[in-house]
């Protein structure tokens, strides 16, 4: 029972830390966007005959996010860890299991690496080869053990998709 309570308290503290980090990140990003990014990239002055500047809506969004970021930070700081925990979040329909932040960063690094590779390879060696390599990599990463099935899928899927696009949609994939 005590162990279970300790587990709940630990999970609550972890969620609270995550919410605190989220709140601080939202506030910081909103500050950067409001003070530098939007003013540098959107016209702040209204044109003649128009009372409202093009930057109006982006700045409204940034202001809302900034205020709510501060609210999230304050709630995470003021709410006691443990019982009840800090606010969870996410889509009910999507689910929100939370691995350790280190794992999330590692996952994102893998995804960014894959994205960079795809964007570098697609215009140079084309869709069929890039698609095959992408598939082979992700099939292995997802834990497919049979290399025969993996190779068959990695070869067949891009070739069939390329053919379908050419034959039926008249679209030339890169």
């Amino acid at each position: 029972m005590t162990l279970a309570r300790a587990g709940v308290a630990q999970a609550g503290a972890s969620v609270r830390r995550s919410d605190l980090a989220g709140g601080l990140a939202v506030t910081a990003l909103a500050a950067v966007a409001g003070l530098w990014f939007v003013p540098a990239n959107v016209n702040l002055a209204a044109t003649a005959g128009n009372d409202i500047a093009p930057a109006f809506m982006p700045l409204v969004c940034v202001a809302i996010a900034g205020v709510l970021g501060l609210v999230m930070t304050a709630r995470a700081l003021l709410h006691p860890a443990g019982a009840g925990g800090a606010e969870a979040g996410g889509d009910e329909e999507i689910g929100d299991q939370r691995p350790a932040p280190r794992q999330v960063v590692a996952d994102l690094a893998v995804w960014i690496g894959s994205t960079v590779l795809v964007l570098l390879l697609l215009p140079r060696i084309g869709f069929v080869v890039t698609g095959g390599l992408l598939l082979a990599g992700w099939l292995a990463y997802a834990g497919l053990r049979s290399w025969v099935v993996g190779a068959a899928v990695a070869v067949t899927v891009p070739v069939v998709l390329d053919w379908l696009c050419r034959a039926f949609l008249h679209v030339q994939l890169p």
Binding site: M57, P58, V62, A65, G89, E92, Q103, W138, C165
Partner: protein, 502 residues
Amino acid sequence: MILEQLMQGFELALHPANLLFMTVGVTLGIVVGILPGLGSVTALSILIPVTFYMSPMIAIAFLVGVTKGGTSGGAVPAILLNAPGTPEAAATALDGHQLTRQGKPFKAMKAALYASVCGDTFSDIVLILVAAPFAAFALQFGPAEFTAIVIFSFTLIAGLSGRSLAKGIVAAALGVFLSTVGLDPVDSTQRMTFGIVELYDGISLNALAIGVLALSSVIHQIFDLRRGADRSGVAAVVHADPALNRLGAAEFWGHWRTLLRSAAIGSGIGMLPGLGVSLAAFLGYGSARRASPEPERFGRGTIEGVMASEAANSAVCGANLVPTIALGVPGNIAAALLIGAFMIHGVVPGPFMMEQHGELIYAIFASMLMCNVIHLAVGRLGIQVWGYVTYVPKPVILPIVIVLCVVGVYIPSNSLFDVGLMLAFAGLGYLMRRTGFSLVCLVIGFLLGPLFETSLRQSLLMYKGDMTILLTSPIALFFVVLTCFSLWRFARRPRAGAAGRG
């Protein structure tokens, strides 16, 4: 009048190509709904670009078929494996899997299919009867009213789709912010385009929707598979005694009150923005159990439980097009994607849609009704086959979807820039999933952003910056009061209770 227009709609919808694509759509929807980790939202996201080459009627009918098939397809793994293919089928698993354990998997699947078709048909009839009067009423709305409605929709969706109101509103604000990229709608100056020509028309809806909804879900599951956190997708062999698996008409229609009640609940929930399909399924199931003289049978394998949840979740499909068609405000994420599809085909959802594209809308209504018949036929014919689709392992399916997403974004735009955007949005979506920010709010914010900005700026210009118009127009005031009430309710929501929801 409605009947006459509907008959004209049937004349258009009975085109062989339309029937063919509806059949393909329903079949694809069922298969994708059954496949582990996918669902009708993923299927819709990937298939919208493919419809670029179809006529608007065929495209929308095809996508409606995918949605209908996807919603009922999720029931198959819920019944056979106790692993719902879609979140809305979770309530179906409660009794459906018990029936499988009693050796009645086909009886459960038949009950789910028939109930799903009944719920869908009821909901479509509600849509046909209600959409035109709603749209006529909405014609009285001006910019102030639309501003108030959109703000209310954001509040409702942010409060209901996630467990944190603050995170939901931040996600919606990010969506609106992203929708402002491109040329300013009033004076056409560039906003955050960095001189990139592809951004002049704004961020591509396909890139954002596919990246954030479909691809981020796929990579989320692949990373879970890698860590061994995801243990679903273990296939079951289906051997069943035919005698135990018969479902007679008397047995099915004996539960007509449950069917009607669940269909009404699903339709009501579908008409309100932000309320999920899962909620409809659980409310339908819960109300059937409360109304039953033998509530203790629920959860132990009764077809009434399967019928209640399936009729309710399927009844959301048609009804959520009521606010979509009447106001241009999506009822849920599937309707939001359908708005995107309408816009790709030059049809702007909203009160003028019935006036400007009445023929098309009634053809779509007719297609939706025909889709239910096709759904019944395809679902019944394939009932012996669907069980085997659950054998396809996740490590094979998920990487294939990554490649499909790349192709899906490239097809309409022929642009590697959009592929890059989609991959970047997938990373953002993954981060948002892991940190608890609602993706539904982000996408709906992005979709409603232009309507929100235009109506707010028009209101400010027309009333010289005096926003008290929101309090003097009765309709706007009504939605402002609803917004304040919703904010108050969601802000007071107990945290522990909220965490336990769903």
